[in-house]
Symmetry: C2
Subunit: 227 residues, 2 copies
Amino acid sequence: MNDIAIPSTVAIVGGTGALGGGLARRLARAGLTVVIGSRDAAKAAAAATSLAAALPGSRVTGLGNLAAASAAGLVVLAVPFANHRATLQEIAPALAGKILVDTTVPLVPPRVARVQLPPEGCAALAAQQLLGDGVTVVSAFQNVSADSLQSDEELDCDVLVTGNKAEAREVVVGLAERAGLRAWHAGSLENSAAAEALTSVLIFMNKRYGGVHTGIRITGIGDGAAG
Amino acid sequence: MNDIAIPSTVAIVGGTGALGGGLARRLARAGLTVVIGSRDAAKAAAAATSLAAALPGSRVTGLGNLAAASAAGLVVLAVPFANHRATLQEIAPALAGKILVDTTVPLVPPRVARVQLPPEGCAALAAQQLLGDGVTVVSAFQNVSADSLQSDEELDCDVLVTGNKAEAREVVVGLAERAGLRAWHAGSLENSAAAEALTSVLIFMNKRYGGVHTGIRITGIGDGAAG
């Protein structure tokens, strides 16, 4: 665990999707105030109502993406790569001075099992370039199975946390731990390319080895427990 | 284990280096005939003599890189990225119809803990482009600690095997298993970017978390044992 405070209110932009919904669920269950964002505010509100009903005592609301980002101290971006740039442009006015946690994997259908990194090097670098220095982009959660996140099962996957500021990475390591995941400082934002690329490898392996949800663990360090 | 035959003689070009030397040792110990290659044939011969003395009954010889590649049915390339292109050009005449196992990580000193993939996408794709369709490039072994390979300890790291031909990948999966490693089909050669990038993440973590040799395991599949 870490000593750096996680903002008490976290927005999940794209929180009606599979990965975003899973993160919203895990974080709300851990006691954080969660604002689900969607392009469709009504859809976000419905998802929030459903999640709040499933988790008595939790604090979950739903808003349009920009309003959700405005309402939170930390913003998680969980939209398909095809919507990455447009969503960043939409929420940028609400991000100044905040940490943006980019979960994006630059999958290019139909060949999602093939690494196809963007010209910027990776999606997280593209986000940082678009947002400029006033926003701290941290990349994480690319390799976690959305299905597993949405369940109550223990998560057998580590999170690689990359970003150019160690203090911001530390906040996101703590956030992942609150979600029940073991997380690691994995270097500067360029290193998000490793996590982003690895997702296509895992998608390939899920097909190749049949009906599995692969993930990764870092070995040679720690004891396999969260922290 | 697999049913596809591994050539009985394997060359390790760059076999006097840390990773190459470790692979040579593990493969010789497993009973394969190993030809250590080096730019300096005398240095290769000395390394072979030393290894053969350490492993009674093993079959190890040392030659210049081109002669080593010519003598083997499968060639492993284990040279620093700075020598990647030049070494490929040197050994290309000996590779027609063979599998080249590229272990190269495109590290660019001094920032080796930062992902810096080459314009081709990854080193393995660069090798395939240079060698053309007459050689089957398979990428593997990027994430294994050279120190651990050179020891007798059990290896707590999986090998991601990428390449465009499943049969060739299967040969290399078998080769890794002979070296005592668990290995996986990880997709087409583009996917080598994931393994190559991950090495900078592991280097970062080795520093950040202090004196460790990190590696990776794939979760959600298999039982953690070789095979």
